[in-house]
């Protein structure tokens, strides 16, 4: 298992950079991973979406962009704007949860 240092803390990650221990996550860690993913600053909306993702994953739900679009924090268009490129992959990485296994 690989390790990375974010915000002065050592974090366990898999070979693709996804955190393997979700409990090591903090807002400061998220901000640094976001910078690596090309997002300079995380807004309150970013954090609301990240918290939503963390909660869904901890409940064992399958994560889809459809569910995020209905979360009340942002719509799908907004989600693509918040995490440009590959939103679900980026957002889960920044949220400190495993890479999503859903197709939608």
């Amino acid at each position: 298992m690989a390790e990375k240092t974010y915000a002065g803390v050592t974090i366990n990650v898999d070979e693709e950079g996804y955190m393997t221990d979700s409990s090591q996550w903090t807002k400061e860690v998220a901000a640094e991973i976001a910078k690596e993913e090309g997002i300079d600053e995380l807004t309150d909306t970013h954090y609301a979406v990240l918290e939503f993702i963390r909660q869904k994953v901890s409940e064992g739900a399958t994560l889809t962009i459809r569910a995020i679009g209905k979360s009340g924090h942002t719509d799908i268009k907004g989600f693509y704007k918040l995490f440009p490129g590959a939103p679900l992959k980026k957002a889960t990485k920044i949220a400190g949860v495993p890479k999503p296994s859903s197709c939608v």
């Binding site: 459809r66 679009g69 799908i76 992959k89 939608v104």
Partner: protein, 166 residues
């Protein structure tokens, strides 16, 4: 030969059939591509146009006659004569849509909205639109254009671009 990785940059998906499974195959691949940050275009032609025709898009059917993959719940073969009884095809199709909803796969109209929200583009085939005597108003509002085959190929042009025909 270089070992440099060349990820897919653009994909054009052609949907030419109007059954639930054919349309969803195209939509799932298109949405998946958008989610990966791949530039995505969908081209609907012939019966595939049902998927972007307002009146038909959310009530697509699957074939219960002449579909050898069809089974009953429990895996028993589905007799062809049963598929021909009025109402059976509608019931099977509605069951399929329900099962997809349980997997958080949206109805066709919402699925298309998800694709366009992520920047995916949707086109209709001019020849097929003319043939089925459809008007622009009959098709979804989010349509990027009714185009010719030549224009379709222009859309797919470029490096690391693929065309998928379902």
């Amino acid at each position: 030969m270089s070992d440099e990785k060349k990820p897919l940059k653009k994909v054009l998906i052609i949907v030419a059939k109007g059954t639930i499974e054919d349309v969803y195959a195209g939509l799932v691949m298109a949405n998946g591509a958008v989610m990966e940050g791949i530039e995505t275009k969908l081209f609907f032609t012939f019966f595939g146009l049902d998927a972007i025709t307002k009146k038909k898009m959310n009530s697509l059917h699957t074939a219960t006659v002449g579909n050898p993959s069809m089974t009953m719940p429990g895996g028993i073969p589905f007799p062809t004569w049963l598929g021909g009884i009025p109402g059976v095809e509608a019931a099977v199709s509605s069951m399929m849509r329900k099962q997809m909803e349980e997997l958080d796969i949206p109805p066709v109209d919402e699925f298309l909205e998800m694709i366009t929200a992520g920047g995916g583009e949707i086109y209709a085939c001019k020849l097929a639109v003319d043939m089925f005597k459809l008007k622009k108003e009959d098709l979804i509002d989010d349509l990027n254009g009714i185009i010719t085959v030549g224009e379709m190929y222009e859309l797919a042009a470029g490096d690391q671009s693929q065309i998928i025909f379902t």
